[in-house]
């Protein structure tokens, strides 16, 4: 037997059933509705209402941001392939990722703020993390800046900055 006549019969039966179901349900709905009482709300010029509000105004408090604490984000770095002299095997060194901590200054939002314009004070959006507008970076950020450039030696990664106060003799 061909497929189209079978499908046609199914669709036809389904359509007729839907018609009957819809009309039947509608009649049933109307019968049930008729049983309910109709109450028309009177139209009054004034509406007397009881207003329940919190008593007193709470003292303004410093509200901490409820956003989740920021976790250190580890930046994926590509493995460094050190080209060795011929005959020596290639040494694969993966740079140890440094914790990349975004910081957020806690904003003090007064709960007694008047209706009107609100500005999220003190934040400038810079490439996915926020820094204060005044540019005073905390110690953590400074440390990050210092560890941006590292030199690879036999002792591992060391800072490129010279320690001039140590007095050690350096070969030039």
């Amino acid at each position: 037997m061909e497929l189209i006549p079978i499908l046609s019969t199914i669709i036809l039966v389904a359509t007729i059933s839907t018609f009957l179901l819809a009309i039947g349900a509608y009649i049933l709905y109307k019968v049930r509705e008729r049983r309910g009482q109709i109450a028309v709300a009177p139209h009054e010029a004034e509406i007397r209402a009881e207003v329940v509000t919190p008593a007193g105004i709470p003292a303004p408090r410093q509200v901490e941001q409820q956003r989740p604490a920021l976790q250190p984000i580890y930046v994926d770095r590509q493995p460094v392939i050190i080209q060795q002299a011929p005959g020596q095997s290639q040494q694969r060194v993966t740079q140890r990722p440094q914790p990349y901590t975004a910081f957020r200054q806690q904003t003090a939002v007064s709960t007694e703020q008047q209706p009107g314009q609100y500005n999220e004070a003190g934040f400038v959006q810079q490439r996915g993390f926020q820094v204060p507008r005044n540019g005073n970076q905390p110690e953590e950020a400074k440390q990050q800046k210092d560890s941006k450039f590292l030199k690879y030696t036999t002792e591992g990664y060391v800072s490129t900055k010279e320690n001039k106060e140590s007095g050690a003799v350096r070969w030039r």
Binding site: L12, E46, T53, P54, A55
Partner: protein
């Protein structure tokens, strides 16, 4: 659990500014209607009597040809409608993606929560409101004379509650029962905010909902912003079909309307209004059963623009049973027809406000013409199958529509990043779900035109968030 705070009670008298149209003399109205309809019918009978003897075809053939022509016209309108909406929705999404206003605008917002016998869901609604990612708002619960424990539950919620960013003031207004429109009007009058957010007591808002919607008010031409309503209680056939309908049927049309800044209905579960726009429109009216559609039309008539924000999501409980669904759609249809009737002057006179005229004709088509056409087409195929043996016609009709719905559902689900499984429902969407809805719409339209009385009704909520 936060300790219950001290509360203060006071009695406030709100003036009812609601504007009512002067009631017409019913006897005179019906007499006028009978005369006009009689003259038109007489004219048509004369035309038939005069032209029929001159016709080459038999009456049976004429009927067949007329039906085929009607079907071709229906198909043509259907395709034009679908592709126009798809194109406008696509243009809107492009515009939204590349030129949406930036944030940084945080005016004070009052969130109005009208409740009537919502003791099961009100606590969850308020809880979702305290998790909003917005710094400057208050919550006003308006208890519209509930007869259950809503008053007690709501009183326990009053106080300064800890919000996501700042403390949020939660107030309660207990008023005698008068309907949703009056409840919202009371809230609007009590509010001192520039922007008010009106929602349903059983809805839950997404955290960024207010922040994303409010930024559009920086444009002073925008009078209101409509949010995106999504079905919360999924997992059942009816609720899944409604979830698809909200995405494919309602949100896509709203996106298309938003491209021309003429959203015709700001949904009840989430709508943000400039308070000035509501005041100018004369507040919500309780003379229709679709107070949201009525207010939207009034705001548009005053020259305000209305935008749709797809990422301001409100999750709402959809009817689970067929009876509840019919009840809801019955009210929507009759409410929309009442709104169209109320604003018929704008419909026939495009010089008052062309946008409103366009929107009213769209609503007229969607509420009255489309259901009749869809039912007529299905009936034709049933008759064609039984009387002439053309049973395969109905299959090709279904296959064509199902394909169209499938493509649209795919587009909409992808655009809204919705659940992919909903696309599967598009196979039965048109032939099963939409047919039921259209039959309900047609019945409601007939009842409305006959002037049969109706009540607001109340959908039973089970409080899915608790389960």
């Amino acid at each position: 659990m936060e300790a219950k705070q001290e509360i203060k009670r006071s009695t406030v008298v709100f003036e009812d500014h609601e504007h009512f149209e002067p009631t017409e003399d019913k006897g005179r109205k019906y007499f006028k209607r009978i005369i006009i309809n009689g003259i038109i019918s007489l004219f048509l009978i004369l035309v038939i009597v005069y032209t029929l003897p001159k016709a080459v075809l038999t009456i049976k053939s004429l009927f067949e040809y007329a039906t085929i022509v009607a079907l071709v016209i229906f198909l043509f309108i259907l395709l034009i409608r679908y592709f126009s909406i798809l194109l406008l929705a696509y243009l809107y999404i492009n515009e939204y993606t590349y030129s949406s206003p930036a944030g940084g605008y945080f005016p004070f917002v009052s969130i109005l929560v009208p409740v009537y016998n919502e003791d099961k869901v009100i606590a969850d609604s308020v809880k979702s409101l305290l998790e909003l990612n917005y710094p400057n708002y208050e919550i006003i619960i308006i208890n519209d004379g509930s007869t259950d424990k809503t008053k007690q539950v709501a009183e326990n919620l009053v106080g300064y509650k800890k919000g996501m960013i700042s403390d949020v003031k939660v107030s309660l207004i207990n008023k005698p029962n008068g309907g949703k429109a009056k409840a919202l009007n009371t809230g609007v009058k009590y509010s001192k905010a520039e922007i008010v957010l009106c929602m349903d007591g059983d809805s839950q808002l997404s955290p960024d909902c207010v922040k994303l919607a409010v930024r559009h008010f920086a444009n002073m031409e925008i009078g209101a912003v409509a949010g995106n309503v999504k079905v919360l209680n999924r997992g059942k056939l009816f609720t899944d079909l409604q979830a698809l309908e909200y995405i494919e049927g309602l949100n896509m049309a709203r996106s298309a309307q938003s491209f021309v800044r003429l959203v015709n209905i700001i949904p009840g579960p989430i709508g943000l209004f400039r308070k000035k726009a509501i005041e100018e429109a004369g507040y919500y009216s309780s003379d229709t059963f679709a107070e949201d559609a009525d207010l939207t039309l009034k705001i548009l008539a005053n020259g305000w623009k209305i935008y749709y924000e797809p990422n301001s999501v409100s999750f709402t409980e959809a009817p689970v049973k067929l009876q509840q669904l019919l009840k809801q759609r019955y009210r929507w249809t009759r409410g929309i027809i009442q709104s169209i009737k109320k604003h018929r002057k704008l419909m026939v006179n495009p010089s008052i406000n062309f946008g409103d005229t366009f929107i009213l004709w769209t609503m007229f088509y969607e509420a009255l013409i489309w259901p009749a056409m869809n039912i007529g087409a299905n009936l034709f195929f049933i008759i064609a199958a039984f009387a002439f043996g053309f049973s395969s016609l109905i299959f090709f009709w279904w296959a064509g529509l199902a394909l169209l719905d499938l493509v649209t559902a795919l587009y909409c689900v992808a655009a809204e990043r919705e659940e992919f499984r909903l696309v599967g429902y598009s196979i039965i969407y048109r032939m099963f779900f939409i047919l039921i809805i259209d039959i309900c719409k047609l019945m409601s339209t007939i009842e409305e035109l006959l002037g049969i009385k109706m009540t607001w009704g109340k959908l039973e909520r089970v409080g899915v968030a608790q389960t």
